[in-house]
């Protein structure tokens, strides 16, 4: 088996997706609980700033106002096996949705490899 073929096979076996979910900061706890109920516990949370259709917000100085064009958001990064992708997306949207602008977005990407640092496990085992 060539190295290329070996790699292809690995990808077939270890089909995984990375989810980047941008959410409202106040929804973090309910999203975490919702995911945990579906058996998804590992994630990384980042404080980010962003804007979408709702754009920014206008605040005031000592006199007069100024507009901040980016709003504070949280981004949850996590990797799930392909068969859990829809479950994860549903778990997030179920609690993060208010129906208004600013609820956030979910991005999904293919993942090539995962390594658990403490044991050296790879692939789905390491998620």
């Amino acid at each position: 088996m060539s190295l290329n073929m070996q790699k292809k096979l690995m990808l077939e076996v270890n089909k995984m997706k990375k989810i980047e979910a941008v959410i409202r900061p106040e929804n973090l706890e309910s999203v975490r609980v919702s995911l945990e109920k579906k058996g998804i516990v590992s994630m990384t949370v980042l404080e980010v700033q962003g804007r979408g259709r709702q754009k920014g917000v206008c605040l005031q100085w000592r006199a007069g106002e100024y507009c901040v064009e980016f709003l504070p958001k949280l981004r949850i990064d996590m990797v799930v096996p392909d068969d859990k992708l829809e479950t994860a997306i549903e778990a997030i949207t179920a609690v993060a949705k208010t129906g208004k602008n600013g609820d956030g977005k979910i991005f999904v990407y293919p993942v090539e490899e995962v390594v658990r640092v403490s044991t050296g496990e790879r692939g789905k085992e390491a998620i």
Binding site: R62, A63, G64, E65, E69
Partner: protein
């Protein structure tokens, strides 16, 4: 017989001793009666209260700049406390309060505090040691220079800032303090009233702030992107400490601890409160009741009531504070509209607030509050108002012109501004090799 003579002699000696002792006692009693311990205690405490206002300005300003310049902005207040405290002892006090030379400046007689001892100086404060009065005034000199720093935050070179501060205290503060407060000063002789520094402190600093802001130029990106205050709680803490210290600033300026100090105390609090309330309502009318605005209003009201604090009633202070807030609020909007980066609105707060307060003194002053003062317009004397307006105009003009030239000279020689890259990185790292938050 011999016994009798010696007895008489000893009786005379005894009487002589008693007489001498009594005279000596009387002399020292006269000496002691001049110094009032209550007055002295109050002025010393007031001095410490005003000292607290100095880093308070640093916190007040520090919260309003971006994170990368927080330390640099707070450092301005500390550095000036150190620098001008020494300048004052060496020659600043002598220039401001020394023997008058032509009504415009004090002589150098008191250089290094030579001759400034414990005996009271009735020209300034008849019941406290001269040393206490000197130290009280030292804090005024320091805080006035600190007020200006709001104009050039986030872009001044630290070395240029030190040179500017030292020369400004010498060329602008000391002469104006002499004109208004020094025995023989020409504005004082003319009858201008400035109880605690509306002209000397607030107008001079506020107007000088615009002058140096025009010379140093706007911060990079000013007007193009938002420069958010990085910590409003820090600013609020500064405002609270300023308010607290202001009791020493104004009520301490009575340089006695009796009725006048109490009246000034009440007037001060009322002026600050009225302006804070008015500013809160103004911001609410325009958008929402602003926290930063309410704190700013407090400071503006305190500044405005400063020159009037020992001459007006608490009811007058409501008018002075409320009107100050409205004028200053719109002065701030005007400054922004003109796109002048006088970054933290020293002019709108202190220049405008102080000028209004000095003019208001000419309207609301009454000898019922302070027999040593004068009556204003509302008490049938229009002359005082004219004098006050003239004093504001003179202080305004002198501060602007001298500061503008001074800033130009410093800019042409050592340069006022940091380099573009240093400004982008922030003054904390580029000027001090430190970070406020890691």
């Amino acid at each position: 017989m011999g016994m009798k003579i010696s007895l008489m002699c000893s009786k005379q000696i005894f009487l002589a001793v008693i007489l001498i002792a009594t005279l000596a006692n009387a002399a020292s009693a006269a000496e002691e009666s001049k110094i009032d311990t209550g007055d002295t205690a109050w002025v010393l405490i007031s001095t410490a209260l005003v000292m607290l206002m100095i880093p308070a300005v640093g916190l007040f300003y520090g919260g309003m700049v971006r994170k990368k310049n927080a330390l640099s902005t707070i450092m301005f207040s500390f550095a000036i406390l150190a620098l001008i405290s020494v300048q004052w002892i060496l020659f600043g006090y002598s220039l401001a309060f020394g023997h008058d030379v032509g009504g415009v400046i004090g002589s150098l007689d008191w250089i290094g505090l030579n001759g400034v001892g414990n005996a009271p100086n009735p020209d300034y404060a008849a019941t406290i040691p001269s040393m206490a009065f000197m130290m009280f005034q030292a804090m005024f000199a320091v805080i006035t220079v600190v007020l200006i720093t709001g104009a050039f935050v986030e872009r001044i070179k630290f070395s240029a800032f030190l040179v500017f501060s030292f020369l400004w205290a010498t060329l602008v503060y000391d002469p104006i303090a002499h004109w208004v407060w020094g025995a023989g000063g020409w504005l004082r002789n003319m009858g201008a009233l400035d109880f605690a520094g509306g002209l000397v402190v607030h107008v001079s600093a506020g107007v000088s702030a615009v002058a140096i802001a025009l010379v140093i130029g706007a911060r990079k990106g000013f007007g193009k992107h938002v420069m958010e205050p990085h910590s409003i709680p820090l600013t609020i803490l500064g405002a609270i400490l300023l308010w607290f210290g202001w009791f020493g600033f104004n009520a301490g300026s009575a340089v006695t601890s009796g009725a006048l100090a109490s009246s000034a105390f009440a007037v001060t609090n009322t002026g600050g409160a009225s302006a804070a309330l008015t500013w809160m309502i103004l911001s609410w009318y325009h958008k929402k009741p602003s926290v930063l605005g309410t704190a700013t209003g407090g400071v503006v009201g305190l500044a405005a009531v400063t020159p009037a604090s020992g001459f007006v009633t608490p009811l007058a202070a409501i008018a002075i504070g409320s009107i100050a807030a409205v004028i200053s609020y719109y002065a701030m909007l005007f400054r922004m509209k003109r796109n002048i980066d006088e970054s933290l609105d020293v002019w709108a707060c202190h220049g405008i607030g102080g000028a209004w307060g000095a003019i208001a003194t000419g309207i609301f002053a009454t000898t019922l509050v302070n027999p040593a003062g004068a009556n204003g317009l509302l008490y049938g004397n229009s002359a005082l108002l004219n004098i006050q307006i003239m004093a504001v105009a003179v202080t305004w003009g002198y501060s602007f012109v001298v500061t503008f030239i001074l800033a130009k000279v410093i800019d042409a020689t050592i340069g006022l501004r940091v380099g573009e890259e240093e400004e982008a990185v922030g003054l904390d790292v580029s000027q001090h090799a430190e970070k406020a938050y890691s």
